[in-house]
């Protein structure tokens, strides 16, 4: 092995490195540089002092969150919702990808893909409005249907227990197309010789799926899940806020860290306090991803992220 200095590597891979540059710059600028702003979480921010000149105030900014008595509830909600989203969404996406790959002709596949992809582009604001017109007590589609069938109307917006299910279904509906395309791409890249060999050996469709397709999807699935786990303590604000809004009756089962912090701080504009909440989420996210990665590495070191 010859001398492998950093300079030699750069020279050797210059095209590849060049292609990498935009992504590295992006993360440097938007993920690493702002990290210095974490100091805000420990400061009493004022405009004259700015980010670095403002006076320190210890853990004061964290007080509102932990004093509220809601810290545990919203953290648990955030974690559980995201866990459910990860499991349900990935399972459905894999299922849909396999179905499309196995069962559909090229035309049908293209059209189905497009239709499934559409919800991904609908903004949460619009989804929120659609949901309101579906679930509304007085004139919502669901209650009109129930009424026509002679059934009692459902008071969805005042019943917290319906909401975990609603949110999981809506999230799955919206993410389905996007994930399916990723998994479909992974399936298409599986070596077709394996399928031919399996067919010659007399394997039926289900055996092929179980023995070839699914094992080959593991790497993709694990990477996608690990990436998602890093964000497990960040609630999708757009989704929760637009679906639930400021409806106090639903908070017990729908409040996530992001909506809680938003509600608490919109009136006070306290930058330090929101930085503190963000810092708390980052710490939790960091811990979970390290743990998850450690677990994956123990089990199969090739599939870990790092």
């Amino acid at each position: 092995m010859k001398r492998s200095g950093l300079w030699n590597d750069i020279k050797k891979y210059k095209i590849l490195l060049l292609m990498l540059t935009p992504a590295v710059l992006f993360f440097l600028l938007f993920a690493y540089v702002p990290m210095a702003g974490i100091v805000l979480a420990f400061k009493q921010y004022n405009y004259t002092g700015g980010v670095f000149g403002s006076p320190w105030n210890g853990l004061d900014n964290f007080r509102f969150f932990f004093d509220s008595g809601d810290a545990w509830r919203v953290t648990r909600n955030t974690g559980l919702y995201n866990l459910a989203f990860i499991i349900v969404n990935n399972a459905l996406q894999i299922f849909a990808a396999i179905l499309l790959f196995e069962a559909a002709g090229p035309w049908f596949r293209k059209i189905t893909q497009t239709v499934m992809f559409l919800p991904y582009f609908i903004s949460w604001v619009v989804v929120g409005a659609i949901a309101y017109n579906l679930f509304n007590y007085d004139y919502g589609t669901i209650n009109v249907l129930l009424g026509a069938l002679g059934l009692e109307p459902l008071d969805i917006y005042n019943t917290a227990s319906y909401w975990p299910l609603i949110l999981i279904v809506v999230s799955a509906w919206k993410a389905l197309g996007y994930g399916t395309i990723m998994y479909l791409a992974a399936i298409t890249s599986i070596d077709t010789e394996m399928y031919e060999a399996a067919e010659i050996d007399g394997a039926n469709v289900f055996q092929r799926i179980r023995r070839i397709t699914i094992p080959n999807l593991y790497p993709t699935a694990i990477i996608l899940m690990l990436l998602a786990i890093g964000n497990i303590f960040r609630g999708d604000f757009g989704m929760f806020y637009n679906m639930v809004g400021n409806n106090g009756l639903l908070f017990s089962s729908t409040d996530v860290i992001d909506t809680f912090v938003f509600r608490s701080l919109t009136t006070s504009n306290e930058i330090g306090m929101s930085a503190a909440a963000g810092f708390y989420q980052s710490i939790l996210g960091f811990a979970t991803i390290m743990l998850a990665n450690y677990a994956v590495r123990k089990y199969d070191s090739d599939r870990a992220l790092f």
Partner: protein
Amino acid sequence: MKQNKNFMLLLAVICVLVAVLSACGGGSGPNANQAKEPASPGNTGASEASEGAVDISQEATLKLLMIGSKPTDYDEVFGELNRLLKEKMNATVETEFLDWADWTQKYPLKFAANEDFDIAYTANWAFYNDQVLKGGFLELTDEMLQQYAPKTWEALPEAAWEQAKVNGKLYMVPNNNQEVTDKVVLVREDLRKKYNLDPVNSPETYAAYLKAIAAGEKGISPFGAKPADGWKWHELDQILLEQQNEWNLVDYNFPLGYKLDDPSGKVFNVYDTPEFTQLIEYYKDLADQGAWSKNIVSNKNDVYQDIKAGKISSYAQNLGTISSNVGEIRRDKPEMEVNVADLTPDKKKIGAISTQNGMSIHAISKQPERSLMLIDLLQNDKEIHDLTMYGIAGKHYEPVGDDKYNPGPSYANYNLSGFSVWGWNSLLNRTDASYPEEGTKMLEEWQSKVHHFPLESFVFDDTKVKNEVANVGNVMLRYAIPLEYGLIKDLEKGQADLIKQLQAAGLDVIQQELQSQIDAFLAQ
């Protein structure tokens, strides 16, 4: 192992980069501080101001900082304005607009960064006290005002000047517009007559009106509320809790108020009163009879549009808005008979304090004299006032007499709702010609009996209790709103829960801090 090494190298590089970058950032902190020093309230203008007559021989350019979006026809209207200003005071203006979307972030930064501008829009809801305390505005002395803004000095009542003072010193030319903050409700007169009901003028007659519609009209929701945007009160609270009991809430972010006729200004938790207990019974009764949609707290529709479409029969707002709505409905939908109704006609009315809108001069402005002259013209020169408020006659508006107007063909491209021209509201303001007479009459009547009280211009400084305010607000959304809209079955338990949660969130701490600030304010 190799993989790990690379990772460590990457980490090291990142650490170095972050350290370097943050050091660069850190350097600007102290510098900014130094630059800020000269801007402290000690003013440069006052000494010059007392000397001699106004010298306008040199052409001046004044920079204006406004809140709101730039109107489409800004160039045309302000081009005309600059022509007039050149004649009257040998000056031109340039305007910078801070869009509604992010003005709360940008506005303080403009001051913090010591940017070059002369005049800024300000208001009690737009950092006035904050910026005064931080040294952002120039102190205005009586002499300066008499000399450079004589018309405004004459026209604006003494009380308005007084209300704009912070710790005894004036930093704002407040607008001259005697608004009343009390709220009213919009009522469908055609429906009221259909059910043979008494005219709506009290909480009881209003309840009867809502219940009759709930019982008789399919497809009309009697009462509507604006889409939930974090507002922490029932939309009728201002009328039925504050106006009806003659209380005043200090800040809508927490439930502490005082009685208007209490000279000691003792604050109390409004949720912990027999009046509130009665009120939630009143609300519960209405809710149970279908006076509002079960989903009112999740509403996403514009309530006024729903009223216009005939889906909702009433809502609460301030007098100006409801009156404009009534005017518009009468013009566009004459078959729908609507009117303004005051549910607390005999109670004390509270006037909007003058700092609701106003213009201030930047502490580091080099031309405070010219700036005052400009504010004087904007507020009290008929030609310039009309132009800046309503645009160009015949294009953006049609003047009707001296004090009314009709929207012109290009109304949408320049009108007084786009940006903060209200900073120079004055007696020269025109009203929309479709504005109903009832509204004007009611306002005149209210104005004649506006109640003035010592705490009128008190503003709470929440710096010490920010954590508690944040948490109390959350409790109100979660426990008070459902209780008030009658969504909780057991009222007694609901109220007890609400009070208990508020204590846990630190309402007592806010109350103590507030009381001590009020005591200090009254002692002055």
